[in-house]
């Protein structure tokens, strides 16, 4: 029916079914462990940046601190605020938690993609991928899932029946819906070059370092994607959802016990997933670092497993980067956030996409690529000037007539 996995083509048999079940279990457990370690890693790294020690009592280097906190949260009292909408209040944490795990399913977690290999591996005589699912819509699945995740935060804030969570969730939903546009447009640049939606196809298209989409799309879509992804995750400097100084704790103020833990888990799981997605889209996922025909190969390890090592290494870089953002960047003001999203990121992503599309058309039809690029840039500059003129006019109107709302 659906070619989610080469395993599931043809009749459904016991061995493929078992392999899929084991893969589901492994991805789930790895997801939970990754989240646990990410929480510890973030606390430890931030502590280091702020000249503190951080968690150091539970387990070696305090690595079990998250587990201890989780167990503690399990045994706390589960509160329902009296003005809460009980059904939605109970539903919201799951709407946040489940999408966080689902998105991880489409990330290629390993496999040999070198030199245009398909990344398929053979397990117990069955051809499969080191990836839970490879749906035909590929990365669009991640976008769809992240748009579902908005509901978790939005409904959590609303159903609490309290004003600070409501404010937090209204902010969050506006922010996430706005930045989704920039996210999608910068993603479109990658899809334009890869020519496919499937994540394994995108990885297979990035065999050398110059093929990595961060280089081949020009660095701009990557930067836009990184900023929009940070905003989508509600991580600092875009964490207006839980601005402690203004909103107590944000959308999850009224939550306690395991329901709160689910939100917390979802937030960190989303960070891991988004880093993995960035690596998959722009940095070749499980591909090794290769310049021309030289491949940085890890000896003694089979190529398929080596992919997993490379992926982990690349993801760690981005996880560290997110922590670094949190420790160094101050939070944006709300109007700055909206200005950045609508007036800078979306037009820039759209313009860059048009530029890449024009270049691609020129290459296909054998036109002079320099002339086409120059022409496109001229058009973009005119568009930019028009946009600036419009901004200036509206700013003038605002100062003479006041705001119109």
């Amino acid at each position: 029916m659906i070619a989610l996995d080469p395993l599931l083509e043809g009749d459904l048999l016991w061995v493929p079914l078992l392999i899929v079940l084991v893969k589901v279990l492994i991805v789930f457990v790895v997801g939970l462990l990754a989240t646990m370690l990410m929480v510890w890693f973030e606390r430890k790294a931030i502590a280091g940046m702020q000249n503190r020690i951080g968690p150091n009592k539970t387990g070696p280097f305090g690595i079990l601190q998250t587990l201890a906190d989780g167990i503690k949260l399990f045994f706390k009292e589960d509160l329902f605020p009296s003005r809460a909408d009980r059904f939605v209040f109970a539903l919201a944490p799951f709407l946040s938690f489940v999408p966080a795990f689902l998105a991880f399913a489409i990330i290629p977690l390993g496999g040999d993609f070198r030199g245009g290999s398909s990344g398929e591996v053979t397990l117990f005589g069955q051809v499969t991928r080191i990836q839970l699912a490879d749906p035909p819509i590929g990365v669009l699945f991640a976008l769809a899932i992240s748009s579902i995740a908005v509901y978790g935060i939005m409904l959590a804030g609303w159903s609490s029946g309290s004003k600070y969570p409501l404010l937090g969730s209204v902010r969050a939903s506006a922010q996430m819906v706005s930045y989704e546009a920039a996210l999608g447009l910068s993603l479109a640049c990658v899809l334009l070059l890869a020519g496919t939606l499937s994540t394994s196809g995108i990885v297979a298209a990035q065999s050398t370092i110059t093929d990595w989409h961060v280089v081949s799309t020009g660095i701009v879509p990557f930067i836009i994607f990184l900023i929009a992804a940070t905003a989508e995750l509600n991580r600092p400097p875009f964490d207006l959802v839980e601005a402690e100084q203004e909103l107590v704790g944000g959308f999850n103020t009224e939550y306690s016990s395991i329901r709160f833990a689910l939100f917390y888990l979802a937030e960190f799981m989303n960070t891991v997933t988004m880093s993995a997605l960035i690596v998959t889209l722009f940095f070749g996922g499980p591909q090794p670092i290769a310049i021309g025909s030289f491949v940085l190969d890890i000896p003694l390890l089979p190529n398929a497993l080596e992919g997993t090592v490379w992926l982990l290494a690349k993801i760690l870089v981005f996880l560290y980067m997110y922590i670094w953002f949190r420790a160094t960047l101050p939070r944006l003001r709300y109007d700055q956030l909206m200005d950045l999203g609508w007036k800078l990121l979306i037009p820039a992503a759209l313009g860059w996409f048009m530029l890449l599309a024009a270049q691609r058309l020129a290459r296909q039809n054998g036109w002079n690529i320099i002339v086409v690029t120059a022409g496109s840039i001229a058009v973009l500059v005119i568009c930019y000037l028009l946009m600036q003129a419009a901004f200036a006019k509206s700013a003038r109107d605002r100062s003479t007539q006041g705001t119109m709302f």
């Binding site: 035909p136 819509i137 669009l140 769809a144 908005v150 409904l155 209204v170 819906v177």
Partner: protein, 180 residues
């Protein structure tokens, strides 16, 4: 398998649709709408229209209903409405008549188009992409951006007109009150 998926999707759609009407609370009604939209997405997937399913979830469930909820929360209409008072007296009889009329039209359309509904469409007919994962998306893009490009562009112009019109209408009212 296909039948099972169809029954599940149909149940989701119908339950959601009934929920939109029956639930008194606007937020619950909006959530029921999400259920319906998901059911439609599931039936798209079972028809192998993966791209449409993704767009259905991203655009309808992910953006439009979020905006509905946003407006409901922002305007503070998230209270249970009193259904006893009626602003327009003829509303209920008219609604019943319109409803019956709509059912009649739908039944007539289905009976009339019986032959067409039972025929199979062309489906995916790109020979070189027959088994590729992107055949669906490619074909959709080709028909939107080549064959039906005018209709597509006209629709987008229509949307822009709607936005501009809304801005204009809200601004006019504001100018009047500020003059007073």
């Amino acid at each position: 398998m296909q039948f099972f998926v169809f029954v599940c999707a149909a149940l989701m759609i119908l339950l959601g649709a009934v929920g939109v009407i029956v639930r008194k609370h606007p937020v619950h009604a909006a959530l029921s709408l999400v259920l319906t939209l998901f059911g439609v997405a599931v039936s798209f997937v079972s028809q192998e229209a993966h791209f449409l399913a993704a767009v259905q979830v991203i655009v309808y469930a992910g953006a439009i209903v979020v905006l509905f909820l946003f407006v409901i929360m922002l305007l503070g209409v998230d209270r249970v409405e009193n259904l006893r008072t009626e602003p327009l007296t003829a509303q209920r009889p008219l609604a019943i008549i319109t409803c019956l009329g709509l059912v009649g039209v739908l039944v007539a359309a289905i009976v009339n188009g019986n032959g067409v509904l039972n025929e199979r469409g062309e489906g995916i007919n790109l020979p070189d992409l027959q088994n590729g994962p992107d055949a669906n998306t490619v074909q959709l893009a080709e028909s939107i951006f080549s064959r039906y490009v005018v209709a597509f562009e006209v629709t987008s112009v229509l949307l822009v007109i709607a936005v501009v019109g809304t801005v204009l209408l809200t601004r006019k009212r504001q100018v009047k009150t500020s003059v007073k």
